[in-house]
């Protein structure tokens, strides 16, 4: 029993085209399924046709919001494969831009969460505050969204002391605003009524369904790539991974808001402590890395992002694979959307639940090859030579 109600592929709540197939009885959602294939662009195939340096700019455009994460992951990946060492100051600058991009992405998500519960004013105010971060990005890198900052071998522009001062004062003001939003999330009765208890994902389910990022951390699964497998200079910058145990959409919102505060702290620390020196190792525009494979993992704003490359000695990669965090969270999203027992999901909860996993479907749509003949080759991270992992 139940009526089929499609939410999408064109719907005011979706920033991209996604189809959520709901089976609905009255106001209650009985069954759900997600089809995320509408934004497939053939990126992995296109990456096989470009040289490594050209591929960086294509990898940047896999997603507009997570573009810092994708370029950092790609650069670390190829640097590990080809044995290129990025200078120390470059790694600090990369960390600064990565954390700034995290602030921008989480502020955008806060606006989208507000929009999905109908809170237009918070949406406008969050995007107004995000402008501050985007202006800072433009000042450092030259672009607001597609920053073109990371290259294989380092970064392209430096941050001078005047810009650093400006960044610190703008971020201090932003921190005040974000503390206000945190208080709003904790105290506003209507926001709490719409998010507390909504989209329940127990800890065991989060582990089973391999949720990553804030979705897992709000269900008391403490998994953060910056802590478990540090890259860049994350071992030298102090921060606390944010974990909540409420297992609902409110927990995820609080995790992200706290992460904004942590990231602002990290950027301020890094601006003071970054060593001076070179920012870029010279790399020829067309180079041929030795044949082999490499994997790089990065904590994107949405979770654990993984890039895999296999080269056969030519100037273009043989195979490049991108596994985005939203792909890992989709199974958790489907589990959250179904009503089971006394966990009841209303139609009105569907935008909140789907938005709380922070879906970035354009990152996610890849062709999945299912090998039925049984000749699957497994490679474990420990077996890759440590020098090739890329740091």
């Amino acid at each position: 029993m139940g009526v089929y109600l499609p939410v999408g592929p064109q719907h005011p709540i979706h920033p991209e085209a996604t189809l959520i197939k709901l089976k609905v009885e009255g106001e209650y959602v009985v069954d759900a399924d997600i089809d995320a294939s509408f934004v497939h662009r053939g990126i992995e195939k296109a990456l096989e046709r470009k040289t490594y340096v050209q591929g960086l700019f294509l990898a940047e455009r896999i997603c507009g919001i997570c573009n810092a994460a994708h370029t950092i992951c790609y650069s670390i990946n190829i640097e590990g494969l080809a044995g290129i060492e990025a200078p120390k100051r470059a790694q600090w600058l990369r960390l600064i831009v990565e954390e700034l991009a995290r602030v921008s992405s989480h502020l955008l998500w806060l606006g989208l969460l507000a929009h999905s519960i109908g809170f237009e004013s918070l949406f406008m105010l969050a995007f107004r505050d995000r402008e501050v971060v985007l202006d800072l990005m433009e000042e450092i890198t030259g672009g607001r969204v597609t920053t073109g900052y990371n290259v294989i071998g380092g970064v392209r522009r430096d941050i001078d002391t005047a810009t650093a001062q400006k960044m610190k004062s703008s971020l201090a003001q932003l921190k005040e605003r974000v503390l206000k939003y945190k208080r709003l999330l904790e105290e506003d009765p209507i926001v709490r009524a719409r998010t507390v208890g909504v989209g329940y994902l127990s800890t065991s389910e989060a582990r089973e369904l391999l949720a990553v990022g804030p979705v897992a951390r709000a269900s008391a699964v403490s998994y953060d790539v910056r802590v478990d497998d540090p890259y860049l200079v994350h071992e030298e910058v102090p921060f606390n991974p944010v974990v909540y145990d409420t297992c609902d959409a409110w927990g995820r919102a609080m995790v992200r808001v706290d992460e904004i505060l942590e990231s602002i702290g990290m950027v301020t620390y890094a601006l003071d402590k970054a060593p001076s020196g070179e920012i870029r190792a010279r790399v020829p525009p067309v180079f041929k890395p030795p044949p082999g494979e490499n994997v790089a993992r990065v904590e994107a704003p949405r979770g654990e992002l993984l890039h895999y490359v296999r080269s056969d000695g030519t100037e273009k990669p043989y195979r490049y694979k991108v596994r985005t965090p939203t792909l890992a969270n989709l199974a958790a999203a489907i589990a959250m959307l179904r009503s089971q027992g006394d966990k009841v999901v209303h139609i009105a909860d569907v935008p909140v639940i789907f938005g709380s996993i922070d879906p970035c479907i354009c990152c996610t749509a890849r062709v999945l090859v299912v090998d039925e003949k049984g000749s699957v080759k497994e490679t474990f991270l420990e077996n890759l030579p440590a020098g090739r992992r890329g740091r």
């Binding site: 109908g118 809170f119 406008m124 105010l125 209507i190 209303h346 139609i347 009105a348």
Partner: protein, 317 residues
């Protein structure tokens, strides 16, 4: 005869009401924009005053589509009847003098009955469209009826009891401000119930854009949609006019008898604008509440409060 026609159709008749409705929509949009640090309507006319009229005309030029699964007669009849019902209700509200365009004994009850008929038309409009989204929206609208009708009626009844008359013209002629002390409770209940009736945030559940894409309105286009949107604006005029008459003393104010015809409409406009400001403030600072939470809110808090208000007004007066 000619003067009667001018009264009915131009001033203070339908044209005046439509112009006021557009003005209040402009005021609402501009206020919400300013509260959100934006600009609001800007380009159509001075300060964007002609924007609602421009939207109305734009909708009239679109293609009129009747979905093939829709109940043809009901689909067309609902917007027309909704407009007629709400305009009739607005004509009872005294806007230019202490006497409304229509006035009869017991017209406060007539206005409340017409409001309920409008809500039934909302349900019919949603149910006559073949889309699932519109059915969900229509059912939600009917669900909400169960919640806010009673507090709305009871808060009006409290004022009627304290004024001692069922006739809106007599209540307006008294010119008493009922916003302080006990009546503040009634004013607050009326404002919240008005937000729910008008389908505005935080209660725009039947038209939740993020969940069911405009809900019961989703299949309407062109002149039917223009008429439905005009009906919404007239409803805004109706409720703010009702609030002005019942709680803020109507169009009466200090004026020498010769200038009454000029000053009373202006007083009405000012008081109505104040009520619209309050409604816009609530709208700009709230999120949308869920349907089951709304019904719980109504029956747990609003209904007892409105019963208490009615009982206290009858007892005190």
């Amino acid at each position: 005869m000619i003067s009667k026609l001018v009264q009915v159709f131009v001033y203070p008749g339908i044209l005046y009401m439509v112009a006021l409705a557009f003005f209040l929509e402009w005021l609402d949009r501009k206020l919400v924009a300013k509260l959100q640090n934006r600009v609001g309507p800007h380009y159509a006319g001075p300060y964007g005053l002609l924007q609602p009229l421009a939207d109305f005309i734009k909708l009239l030029t679109k293609e009129s589509i009747v979905p093939s699964g829709a109940d043809g007669l009901l689909f067309t009849l609902c917007p027309v009847m909704a407009f007629i019902v709400v305009t009739t209700a607005v004509s009872f509200v005294p806007m230019t003098s202490t006497q409304g365009l229509l006035s009869t004994e017991g017209d406060a009850v007539a206005v409340l009955a017409l409001i309920t008929i409008y809500l039934l038309l909302v349900y019919t409009a949603g149910a006559s469209s073949p889309s699932r989204y519109s059915l969900v929206g229509a059912v939600r609208a009917a669900h909400m009826l169960l919640g806010f009708e009673l507090p709305l009626m009871l808060s009006c009844l409290g004022v009627i009891a304290s004024a001692g008359s069922f006739k809106l013209s007599e209540i307006a002629a008294q010119g008493v401000w009922r916003v302080f002390g006990l009546h503040a409770l009634g004013f607050a209940i009326f404002l919240i119930a008005a937000e729910a009736e008008l389908d505005r945030l935080p209660f725009d559940i039947p038209e939740a854009e993020q969940e069911i894409v405009s809900g019961w309105l989703v299949e309407y286009s062109s002149w039917r949609l223009a008429l439905l949107r005009l009906t919404k604006d007239m409803e805004l005029l109706l409720f703010s006019g009702l609030a002005t008459t019942l709680f803020l003393g109507g169009p009466a104010g200090p004026a020498p008898p010769s200038a009454e015809n000029l000053l009373y409409p202006l007083y009405f406009l000012a008081k109505t604008a104040f009520v619209v400001f309050l409604l816009s403030l609530i709208r700009a600072s709230s999120a949308r509440i869920r349907l089951d939470q709304f019904v719980i809110l109504c029956w747990r808090y609003l209904v007892p409060a409105s019963f208490a208000y009615l009982a206290l007004t009858v007892w005190v007066v």
